[in-house]
């Protein structure tokens, strides 16, 4: 396509029509990939071409405007190029305005960061368009801050909106920020609250990053909001959006090279001089030691093997430990006791059994008196040791405390963690009945021996369960041929049923179905793990039935973390219960679950939920197939 310049009054509305029609038929890529660079070059310096280009896009009929504008936004090499190509189209044309300010930003979320940069940069480059920029920012913040959006929109969309907000912020100038400072502050506060409420760490982090950025923009001189979160590539990428790099120019790069060159030259000099001084220094001590053949050798040292670190001794008896932990003011002794408790408990099972519930009570309420490294881990290991030594009374105590008044959320979650770790330990086969715990605990999940079905989804489910319950470094999962009676068999029911009993009874300080949905999520995941570990136990079918009922009651919960947990419960049920039992005893529940899973796969906004539901459906299919192929 080439035009003949030369002062002719040409009508290009025909070209606009052609362009529009081609774009709307889906051929944006082909035509624009040639047109846009061409136009870009032509419009760089020539005003006439700019005006021609603007006329071109303005004349595109409304019904095809969206496709054309979208195509341009995607293809333009930069915001300034887009500005040259489109001119003030967004101000003049209502449809274009709608597409640019509403559709691309709020209704779609599949575009890349570059597209966002182009679009928002374009809006910021002209004073007429800047008003639109501010309007866009306000709408984005409204969406960002609305709690229903945070709860129900997919994480990808939330990330898209956050990126857009950050880019907008980077374009705003001081006077503009001044004028809308109050609104920014209010929306930031609301938005941060909804984000931090969420159970998904990714959403929380997005909220934190955006809030920090907004705060740094509006409080340039005062203290800024600062959150603590994990810095990884995603976080860094988001933060880099806040700073706008100036448009690419040739000139500044030369002094840059020069400066870099000088810096490089400076460094080797410094290094060399350092090396020289280091080379000089070792010489003199050598000479000195050679010269000293001395009478120091006359003095014969005495035996110093007894010289060891001074340690406060920890008590050797369990009852002494209890005394120290409950009453003693001697902090050294307290510290030594906490460190030694786990091994003492394991070495003296009989003595522990006498005082197990008391110990469990003390440990549950134990708070850090002095600053010990790894206090939380030490306490948890001691609790697990007590539990595994005397399971039934301690489990009764812990599960009853889980639903009692006046515990903090942290303590209730600690209870769940301890139950899971202890269950893992009990279900792990011990070699020849001798306990294998010499120091480091290895909470591996017992691998199911031999399976005919495809491994992928099982591995994925395993990973999922592992990722929810790991607390500290794992040992290698050993292919152990050790065998012994499954200790978990006797107590699996005790772990499981009390936890599931009272979930719908709210207490004054603890309401699982209400505000404390984080704990509910953890409870559900815990039940999934317990179910998984109950494979080969007698109670497994009864547990499975109860669990499926529980899942059914909660299946429409709004929190995606809880839903993920429910789906992993279903996986555990399908994996742990022998296929024959599943089909005999639980047919109706399975059918209902299957229809629910189908629903989830299609309609659930959370990607993880959809994936696990799909895996569950596959599991069910495989089970059916397996049963069909069993030789009669």
């Amino acid at each position: 396509v080439c035009f003949i310049p030369g002062g002719l009054d040409c009508s290009i509305s025909f070209v606009s029509h052609v362009l529009g029609k081609v774009c709307v038929h889906g051929r944006q890529k082909e035509i624009l990939s040639i047109l846009v660079p061409h136009l870009n070059n032509l419009t760089k310096s020539d005003c006439i071409w700019q005006r021609i280009c603007w006329r071109l896009v303005e004349c595109v009929p409304d019904r095809w405007m969206e496709a054309v504008v979208l195509g341009f936004v995607q293809r333009a090499p930069g915001a300034d190029a887009l500005s040259r190509l489109l001119g003030n189209l967004v101000v003049k044309n209502k449809k274009a305005q709608f597409v640019v300010t509403q559709k691309v930003l709020l209704l779609q979320y599949g575009h890349t960061t570059a597209v966002l940069q182009n679009l928002l940069g374009y809006l910021s480059l002209d004073s007429l368009r800047r008003a639109l920029l501010i309007k866009v920012l306000q709408e984005l913040l409204e969406t960002w801050g609305s709690s229903s959006a945070v709860k129900h929109s997919p994480p990808e969309q939330q990330q898209y909106i956050s990126k857009a907000i950050l880019i907008c912020l980077s374009h705003l100038k001081e006077p503009e920020i001044e004028s809308c400072r109050q609104e920014l502050l209010t929306s930031m506060m609301e938005g941060v609250k909804c984000h931090l409420d969420s159970n998904l760490p990714q959403i929380r982090r997005l909220g934190m990053i955006v809030a920090e950025s907004i705060s740094s923009k509006i409080n340039t001189d005062g203290p800024v909001l600062k959150f603590q979160y994990e810095e990884d590539d995603e976080a860094r990428e988001l933060k880099s959006l806040l700073v706008q790099t100036p448009p690419f120019c040739v000139v500044p790069s030369v002094p840059d090279d020069d400066r870099n060159g000088k810096a490089d030259a400076a460094l080797p000099l410094v290094l060399e001089s350092n090396k020289k001084s280091h080379a000089a220094a070792p010489v003199t001590p050598d000479e000195e030691s050679d010269a000293e053949l001395d009478s120091d050798d006359d003095l014969i040292p005495y035996d110093m093997s007894e010289d060891k670190e001074l340690k406060t001794k920890a008590p050797v008896y369990i009852r002494d430990c209890i005394e120290v932990l409950t009453g003693s003011e001697d902090v050294d002794k307290w510290e030594a006791t906490v460190k030694a408790l786990e091994s003492l408990v394991r070495k003296n099972p009989a003595a522990t059994r006498e005082v197990s519930v008391e110990l469990a009570k003390i440990l549950l309420h134990l708070e850090e008196k002095t600053c010990i490294e790894g206090f939380v881990e030490l306490r948890q290991r001691a609790q697990v040791a007590v539990l595994t030594t005397d399971p039934i009374p301690v489990i009764k105590y812990l599960t009853s405390q889980f639903y009692s008044l006046n515990y903090s959320l942290r303590q209730r979650m600690d209870i769940l963690d301890v139950l899971v770790l202890a269950a893992q330990e009990l279900s792990y086969p011990k070699s020849c009945g001798k306990t294998k715990h010499s120091g480091v605990q290895k909470p591996c999940i017992q691998l199911l021996p031999g399976s005919d079905s495809s491994k992928d989804w099982r591995r994925i489910v395993d990973e999922r369960i592992k990722s929810k319950t790991r607390r500290f470094a794992t040992g290698q999962s050993q292919v152990e041929l050790a065998s012994g009676p499954n200790e978990f068999n006797l107590v699996a029911g005790h772990f499981f049923f009390p936890l599931i009993q009272h979930f719908d009874r709210p207490l004054t300080t603890f309401d699982l179905l209400g505000e404390d949905h984080f704990v509910l999520g953890r409870l559900v995941h815990t039940l999934a793990v317990l179910m998984y570990l109950a494979v080969n136990t007698v109670a497994v079918t009864a547990m499975g039935k109860a669990l499926l009922e529980f899942v059914w009651a909660l299946r429409f919960h709004t929190d995606s973390y809880v839903r993920q947990g429910l789906l992993s419960c279903v996986s555990s049920v399908l994996l742990s219960i022998p296929a024959e039992h599943l089909l005999e005893d639980m047919t109706e529940e399975l059918l209902e679950t299957q229809s629910w899973l189908g629903d989830v796969v299609e309609k659930d906004p959370d990607g993880d939920c959809r994936r696990v539901a799909l895996q569950n459906l596959l599991l069910m299919e495989n089970l059916k197939k397996k049963l069909k192929t069993v030789p009669s």
Binding site: D294, M304, E306, D307, L310
Partner: protein, 328 residues
Amino acid sequence: MALPPPDPQFVLRGTGAAVHALHFSCGSQEPDAPILFSGSENGFIHIWNLKTHRVDTALDGHGRKSVYCVETMGGKDRLLSQGRDQRICLWDLAEGRTAVTDSVFTENVGFCRCSLLKVAQGRWLMAMAAKALEEVQVLELPSKTSVCTLKPEVGAKLGMPMCLKLWQINCGSQPLLLAGYEDGSVVLWNLSTGKVLSQLVCHQEPVMSLDFDSEKAKGISGSSEKVLSIWSLNEQQNLQVYKTHKLVNAGISGITIRPDKKILATAGWDHRIRIFGWKKMKPLAVLDYHTATVHCVSFSDHKNPGERLLAAGSKDHRISIWSIYTQT
């Protein structure tokens, strides 16, 4: 096959309180006169007869406040003691007297032991922590005139002086002061100008104790951490770290180098006394007798090398006397 460490030659009991200061006076010619002075937390200074192993006299001059430094001034008849009652007392002990002849009111409530240096016949210099937090005052004794006040510059943030050592390169030359401070640095002061000659950060924790060998221009300092720092003084009067020695347990209350500069002893918070060879810091022995923190160690000044003793005073109210490496 190394020998097990020796036992104490004898143990002095009877102070009734933690022992904070020790000083021998065994150099005189009379055969029955070896004496050990000890300062305790109950304010008494005990004069021990090292032949009978009993207390000859108990001096009460500090109003039952802890005595944390005892020094003799030229013989066992003149004693200087420093206590927590903010006083430094000078005693006349000749012919059985027990009188305080003079006292200096320091107005300092710290624990920094003073340091004495004989500069001429009958004239001593004494360095002590002064009233203001970071200052050290040097007095001339017995006239009690102030020679100089050593003030660190504003913003130096050294903290309290923790330990002091006055020394001269040889008799008649200019006296210098080494001071260890709360921030872990050791500072060399020039007394005539009152200025800092050199400062070296040796420790991360306060310097608890230091000692200096003027012949080799090498010193050692100990702190509440696990490291002993050995530093040297070069020709330009600059302090440099020579080496560090890592200890098994943290905390040193006192360090002292034997007068013949062959060995040194450290008093540890881990109840142990450690002996090192001074030339190369070779660990020689760990003497484990006490059941509580050892507060002070001191070597005797016997003329006969074979009779030399080491004394250690501890919080468990006992003073252990050792005879170790006396053959060199």
